[in-house]
């Protein structure tokens, strides 16, 4: 009986261990080793920190690195600002069927692939696209307007892609807030703003932080949206990694870049958790 239980335990554990080992741990160890070696001759390698040296020595790399981080933070903040009222409406104001319908509407865009969604934005924003024609028809623009290939277009794409991952944790935490607590806030003399600041936001904090972490990570690691919607100046750090691996065939430098990105996201997530006084267990549990 005990042996059977133990067998069951291992059987259940195996897929997890396989997944973690084969897809996460082994590739990362390999990547780490790769990033720490330098090619010194044909087929000859020596271990060194030269790849990281290259990263810190080249302003374009550093600049792209910092810009990607800043833009991801900005995308997270914008997503939060848009998603919060939406989530509040879904969780607290909408009732019954409307509630589930609205929730479903947030989900619908994710039934098509990210590629198709991004193409959708291209159809809307390009020179011969819908918005451009509309502006010309309304007489607000003299000629075709190009709205693609800049930071704003990229930001729109990033926020749109991330929306659901912010709305879901927010709706969940806001739903757990008792309506009577909000009413008590008003009853004791609070205004709408003070109820939001002192009651709703502190309660929703775990949802805000977990949603922000997910959105931030997704934005930071996004490749498709910055490539398709961003312009020449909107270089994303993932594009650098891609070009090192695929275009330049410099796997060593690409691996070092990959580790810098991992380091960056870890530091920013850790910093945010410290700053907001939340713990990973509390936000993810």
């Amino acid at each position: 009986m005990r042996n059977q239980a133990r067998l069951g335990f291992y059987l259940l554990l195996t897929p997890l261990l396989l997944w973690l080992g084969l897809l996460i741990i082994i590739p990362h160890i390999d990547m780490a080793l790769l990033s720490l070696r330098e090619r010194v001759g044909v087929g000859r390698y020596a271990s060194s920190l030269a790849n990281y040296g290259t990263f810190f020595g080249e302003p374009l790399y550093m600049w792209t690195f910092a810009r990607t981080a800043m833009m991801s933070v900005l995308a997270t903040v914008i997503t939060l600002i848009i998603a919060f009222p939406v989530s509040y409406y879904i969780a607290k104001m909408a009732k019954g069927r409307t509630q589930s319908a609205l929730f479903l509407l947030c989900l619908v865009p994710f039934w098509v692939s990210e590629l198709v969604r991004t193409f959708g934005w291209m159809i809307l924003l390009r020179e011969t696209g819908l918005f451009s024609s509309l502006l010309q028809w309304a007489g607000l623009a003299d000629g075709p307007v190009e709205m693609l290939y800049n930071d704003a277009a990229m930001m729109v794409g990033l926020v749109y892609t991330s929306m659901l991952f912010m709305v879901v944790p927010l709706v969940t935490t806001l739903e757990s807030l008792d309506d009577a607590v909000i009413e008590a806030g008003y009853d004791l003399g609070g205004s709408g703003f003070s109820v939001l600041r002192e009651i709703v936001i502190p309660h929703a904090m775990p949802g805000i932080v977990s949603g922000s972490i997910v959105v931030f990570m997704l934005s930071l690691g996004n490749y498709l949206t910055p490539t398709m919607l961003g312009g020449k100046d909107s270089l994303w750090f993932t594009e650098l990694i891609y070009s090192q691996f695929i275009v330049r065939f410099n796997w060593e430098l690409g691996a070092a870049f990959g580790f810098m990105l991992l380091f960056l996201s870890s530091v920013i997530v850790w910093g945010t958790l410290r700053l907001t006084g939340q713990t990973l267990e509390k936000t993810m549990g």
């Binding site: 009577a180 009853d187 003399g189 609070g190 205004s191 003070s194 309660h203």
Partner: protein, 364 residues
Amino acid sequence: MATDLDCNTLTKRFGDTTAVRDVSFSVEQGSFFSILGPSGCGKTTIMRMIAGFLEPTGGDIRIKGKSMLNVPPNKRPVNMVFQHLALFPMMNIAENIGYGLRRAGLPKPEITRRVGEVLERVNLPGIENRKVDELSGGQKQRVAIARCMVLEPDVLLLDEPLGALDLKLREHMKIELKALQATFDTTFVYITHDQSEALVMSDQIAVMNGGVFEQVGTARDLYYRPDTAFVAGFVGDSNRWRGKVEQADGDRIALRTAEGLLINSATQGRDLRPGEEAEIFLRPEAIRVAHDSADLAQFDNRISGEVSSLLFNGAASRILVRDEIGEEIEVTLPQSGEFANLAKGAPVHIGWGGDQTTCFASRG
């Protein structure tokens, strides 16, 4: 006497259903007023209208003479103790109680002083830095009341705040609430479906059913002189029959139940004519039990029968007495010792005065 709260022909409709219909009442300053009714009778709707969370469809609410229509909840001089208390879980006790004072823009030292004072008054000094979930049910209750009372409202609304407590604590809190009300000398409006809470604590009770007030009066009025069949059935326990008036002689009438039991009763001023259908109420504690029928000579209702069932419940023990025609009557068993050996099937005599029976003409 000055009134703190006046409601005038208050009406609330939700779509086609009328939750509250033309309710008018006044609450005297410093008194304990209860609204008692079964769930769904509209009592919570009244309370939410007074607090400002619902807009009345018609009528007026005045607090200290000032109309509260179009005044938002955060500007009204009323505060509410919610059913599940709704303490702010993200704040400690001092922050919870100080919330309203902070909103009123009081300076910090003043807030600290007043929070300390109010905690003293509810007998919980020194718990300022505790968290909400570290308190027991009774302590939370007192903190919730303190959180409202620190703002010195004209009227305190309480929405079944004892509902979530266990029985022993509830009994204790009833007495404590009444004492707190006396300490603060504030008008309390209390809503409940539990008649014993209302009867014990209130100066005035309104019994509500189907969106209207059936009767407003003191606990004694409701118990001894119910105005309607609903009040007679809702407040206290009763033996209940339907019957027809057979004879009317001044203020005395004789009724016969569907089973054939003849009951003599007083009309208590109600107009009941022979042949009319009536509802008859008789409290189990108003009936005398005797071993010998001679002891019941002074009563105009006397029945001999046997004990068909013993319902032992300590002080509130009862017996069911079945008479010859099969009618069963619930009778409170005196705990003075003479009936300690009463067993099922034992012959017993019961009797009561006609004044103890209450009759109402059947509606419809």
